[in-house]
């Protein structure tokens, strides 16, 4: 009987872990000693960092979407269907049409916006957390000729913690280039006492926002939005008025992990922060945005985690002790305007020390957006950086 590796979710983490393993296990796949299967309801793979850049015309739909089958290594099986139940105790995953058994499971089911957590949120304004919404926002920004633009975080955690900061900086650049910056009041609204989770980065962000005349409102936890009065109300009792609102929605985990009784009350998968095992199961792993790990919900975290899990599964299949540990590594670009960016590199023990923003870093980010398809998603750098 072949050893069966089952990956639930074909986003960044799931695709990388499957491809990374397929490269390492090529000969065993050819001989039929191992099977790798990815199950995902969508035939399309979306490069989600594009969502932030589409509203400003920096990226486009055709650079953000590829067929999932075209990304997966030839020997990886792809089932385009929804996983409906994960039975960890009996090593099986169900869909409407089948029951898939596994020897090794990787849950990479991600996070999704949950507009229902904030009354009025979905009708209130705009966001850049789906492809369609990124395009609606592009149209709205193009029409906006002046007034108060509020970008607010309406719930933590959410995908890509730096995105709201980057959005504010990009708005500043965008309207400056259009010669409209003096007519657009930009306001950044955030739930914490500082404009970012990590204190030393927050200090630098605050300084940059002050220099660019971006108004910062802190300790503002969005309770509701009134689209008719164009007001955002906070739990703390404050109200912010807007002409154009760009809101980061609260996020939650995938329905399948909730329905399977795996998720915590926030919808996240309890995950060992070093081994990446689903807590209590040494044959099941969780990677990417769906975990409860204290790291950014970001593609780079999923990439580093995928390399650890692929290495440990390979070790176990080949009779070695799986000893590689995830150290919490995350690498994030922060675009600080059109034509400039910096980078955060950090792990559980070492906070980031971002260098000054440069054009070179911005250029590298744009190049990376293309390398994602041919290098990162293909699992071409197995073990890189871990």
């Amino acid at each position: 009987m072949p050893k069966k590796v089952l990956v639930v979710g074909g986003g960044t983490g799931g695709t990388i872990v499957a491809n990374n393993l397929a490269h390492r296990l090529h000969d065993q796949l050819v001989k039929g000693e191992v099977e790798i299967t990815v199950i995902d309801p969508s035939s399309l793979h979306i490069y989600q960092p594009a969502y932030l850049l589409i509203p400003f015309g920096i990226m486009h739909r055709n650079e953000a979407v590829r067929p999932e089958r075209s990304l997966l290594a030839e020997k990886v099986r792809f089932r385009q269907e929804s996983a409906t139940k994960i039975d960890l105790a009996n090593r099986a995953v169900y869909s409407d049409s089948t029951r898939l058994e596994y020897d090794y499971l990787v849950i990479a089911t991600g996070a999704k916006p949950d507009y229902s957590q904030v009354p009025g949120l979905e009708k209130a304004g705009y966001d850049f957390y789906t492809l369609d919404n990124a395009y609606k926002l592009r149209e709205a920004l193009g029409r906006f000729k002046g007034g108060k633009l509020v970008t607010a975080v309406a719930g933590i955690p959410f995908k890509c913690p730096t995105a709201p900061i980057e959005f504010a900086f990009l708005v500043d650049s965008y309207f400056t280039r259009l010669g409209l910056r003096d007519k657009v009041q930009v306001s950044y609204v955030y739930p914490l006492p500082r404009p970012f989770t990590i204190p030393n980065v927050a200090e630098e962000v605050q300084r940059m926002m002050e220099n660019r005349k971006i108004e910062v409102s802190l300790l503002f936890n969005v309770e509701s939005v009134d689209p008719e009065k164009k007001e955002i109300r906070s739990l703390e009792g404050e109200t912010v008025k807007y002409d154009l609102a760009v809101l980061t929605p609260p996020h939650t985990g995938a329905d399948v992990v909730k329905k399977s009784g795996i998720a915590d009350k926030g919808g996240w998968i309890p995950t060992d922060r070093y081994s990446l095992n689903v807590k209590g199961y040494d044959d099941a792993y969780a990677i990417g945005d769906g975990t409860d790990l204290p790291v950014s919900k970001a593609g780079s975290a999923a990439d580093f985690e995928a390399a650890v899990v692929a290495t440990n599964i390979w070790d176990d299949i080949n009779g070695f002790a799986p000893t590689l540990r995830y150290d919490g590594k995350v690498m994030c670009f922060i675009i600080t305007g059109i034509g400039e960016a910096t980078m955060l590199l950090f792990d559980y023990e070492h906070p980031p020390k971002p260098p000054p923003a440069t054009f070179a870093c911005y250029w590298y980010k744009l190049v990376y957006n293309r390398l994602y398809w041919t290098v990162t998603a293909k699992g071409m750098l197995p073990g890189f950086g871990v």
Partner: protein, 79 residues
């Protein structure tokens, strides 16, 4: 802190910034005026962030008790 009062305990140990603050905010939202919420946090940032939030939100910060490896931080819902 008065140990005799009835409190709602939120165990956020092991959760990192801003997890404990977010857990507290969720608990306060679901509580009634006058209730006391006690957050257990192993993240040292909580004892800095939670009093700031309580003050801004108009709730009463009742204090911190340092335990082995974590803090017990109490807030009373005032409105």
């Amino acid at each position: 802190m008065n140990e005799q009062e009835k409190v709602k305990v939120i165990d956020a140990r092991g959760s990192f910034c801003p997890g404990p603050l977010m857990e507290l905010i969720r608990a306060v939202k679901e509580s009634s005026v006058g209730e006391i919420i006690e957050v257990w946090s192993s993240d040292t940032g909580s004892q800095r962030d939670i009093p700031k939030w309580a003050e801004k939100a108009g709730h009463e910060f009742l204090g911190v008790v340092h335990e082995q490896g974590y803090d017990r931080i109490r807030v009373k819902k005032k409105r």
